[in-house]
Symmetry: C2
Subunit: 385 residues, 2 copies
Amino acid sequence: MTAWERLGETTRREVLQARAYLSVVAEPPAPALARLVAERGPLRAVEAVRAHRVPREVRAEVEARSADACGEAALRAADTAGARLLVPEQPEWPAEAFAELSGARSVGLPGMAEPLALWVRGSGELAAMAGRAVSVVGARAASGYGEHVAAELGNGLAAAGHTVVSGAAYGIDGAGHRGALAAGGCTAAFLACGIDRDYPAGHSRLLRAIADQGAVVSEYPPGTEPRKHRFLVRNRLIAAMGRATVVVEAGARSGATNTANTADALGHPVLAVPGPVTAQNSVGCHAMIRSGQALLVTRVEQVLEVVNPLGTAPVEESTAQHRPTDQLSSDAQRLHDSLRGLDGASDVELAGDCGLPVGRVRALLPELELGGFASRGEAGWSAIR
Amino acid sequence: MTAWERLGETTRREVLQARAYLSVVAEPPAPALARLVAERGPLRAVEAVRAHRVPREVRAEVEARSADACGEAALRAADTAGARLLVPEQPEWPAEAFAELSGARSVGLPGMAEPLALWVRGSGELAAMAGRAVSVVGARAASGYGEHVAAELGNGLAAAGHTVVSGAAYGIDGAGHRGALAAGGCTAAFLACGIDRDYPAGHSRLLRAIADQGAVVSEYPPGTEPRKHRFLVRNRLIAAMGRATVVVEAGARSGATNTANTADALGHPVLAVPGPVTAQNSVGCHAMIRSGQALLVTRVEQVLEVVNPLGTAPVEESTAQHRPTDQLSSDAQRLHDSLRGLDGASDVELAGDCGLPVGRVRALLPELELGGFASRGEAGWSAIR
């Protein structure tokens, strides 16, 4: 029996209602309210908010909505949308990942705070996902190249048992999710609007597929509109969830750069995929690599090496093809070059051409003949390959 | 009067003849012969070679050719080809650059040695070039992308007064030279064959143009055929000449990687241009960046920053466009987002939407109005941009 089950049904319902109310009453991130909840627990925190007996910082976060906020309505709307409320008291809460958002590493990061609750569609267990999650983010206006690479990475990561976390946007996000789905793997989308909103509209089928094979998640209560600042606020959850964040195409100023900065600040590795230097879409990736913030990655094995250093075979850096002459000594290769240049030559001619002493040439020629690299004919020596 | 002029005409001719002979008698690099010449001077070194009174290591380097070697013939052939012999005794010799090849940094590098002489076509002064040289190297089977980038770099470097050094090969080399020529700048090609050979044949016009605007250079005496190992040996001169080496497209196993390794060993910065991770042509560049051997560069300003750190303006890393709302505080931007979402809204509605206290919203709205970001109408507040 988990601690959550031991709470008893009544308390569990009270906690869910309190957390639903907290989710509605303050615009995330609400660091002062999060601290109050951490100190007093959700039930007493909600009482204090309702009674207007809260510190000034908390009041600023809840004042605008406390008159109308209704946790019950949000829970009903979520139920209608096929979503559930996930709270930190439940074992499925990705506690370790989100603790970083209020921990030592978040000091100095503006507006960092753990989410007070999450709205979830899909049966994927977030805590289990978080342990093996890799975030794949990038430009909405991605190129065909970028989408191809993101899909390949999403596919390879999912096939290796990792959860692909992203934001369900057009472009790189969508390609990353789709790659994971195509591998029959797990993927999670974090939204910047209510869980009942299919945003972007063109991704409604994709969002259903993500919920079927993983989870669609939002910090925002049902009915919340996507607003520009919510994308930035949402990005901290993507950064915290991923054991590493891979950026595939990012302009000089982009949401993906913001996610990467947060991941970096939280101490998570940032990886970036390069592209043509003529493409504006790769400017952000190249800048991150140049500054040392991101490690350049070109394929999924290099990502796996970072997120799972003990569990993967070392990546062969070189995909160079080997030539038969590789086995030869440098003198023998030099002589072989001359054999190819002079067809039917004497040992003295060969020595003059390659500059090796004639005695060395005479010793090497039978070696090359035995190895199948040279043959002796009537006109002299010739190369075979 | 230079030290070379003070030698007197007879001695100068003797030195040239001796160096021509040394150039013919040993296949470069000839480190033992180079040491002998450094110790005894070219005239006495030639006497010793001719009399077969040389250490065993030197004998191995000169044995194959000493019977037939003729410096005079090489000088005549060069003259016919419109080339001259450049020797270390002349002020035009790029002494500083090549000294590295026999200096402390070359310890442990196999086959490093200063060239014994250079054959030169064109009036470009090598010593002057060396001080401002940047090597641009890369794949022969380059892509259109790679050639475009190499030409842009060659052009920008030459326009900034740098000499573009490369190997005159098809692909990246040729594009780098052409970019420099198009800028009316200076460029130098180092060949892996005799100076009388136009290699590759398709670049004979390019080689003439390079000689006209700079120099075509070879360590090999006239008549020498291009052989595979000569390209690798030649690469050390390109690496030593460039204050930095820029690699534009290189396969996993390529001559450009070899040049980069030598430049790195000599302590010269190596820069690499990224490309699509789907292109085999960029595998070598990406590997160098990943390993930390090369710095990623995307445009000529970033190269200039490295080769001329005090003489160039700092490079703006970000080419991001600025939006008018950038000047607003984060609260004001958040409110502006809500204004854009809700057309014609009251201050209380806006506060509920964005979650800011209504008092803060009331303070911010006139600010946004003054800045031209919001307007008050009969239906309420609206966003302007």
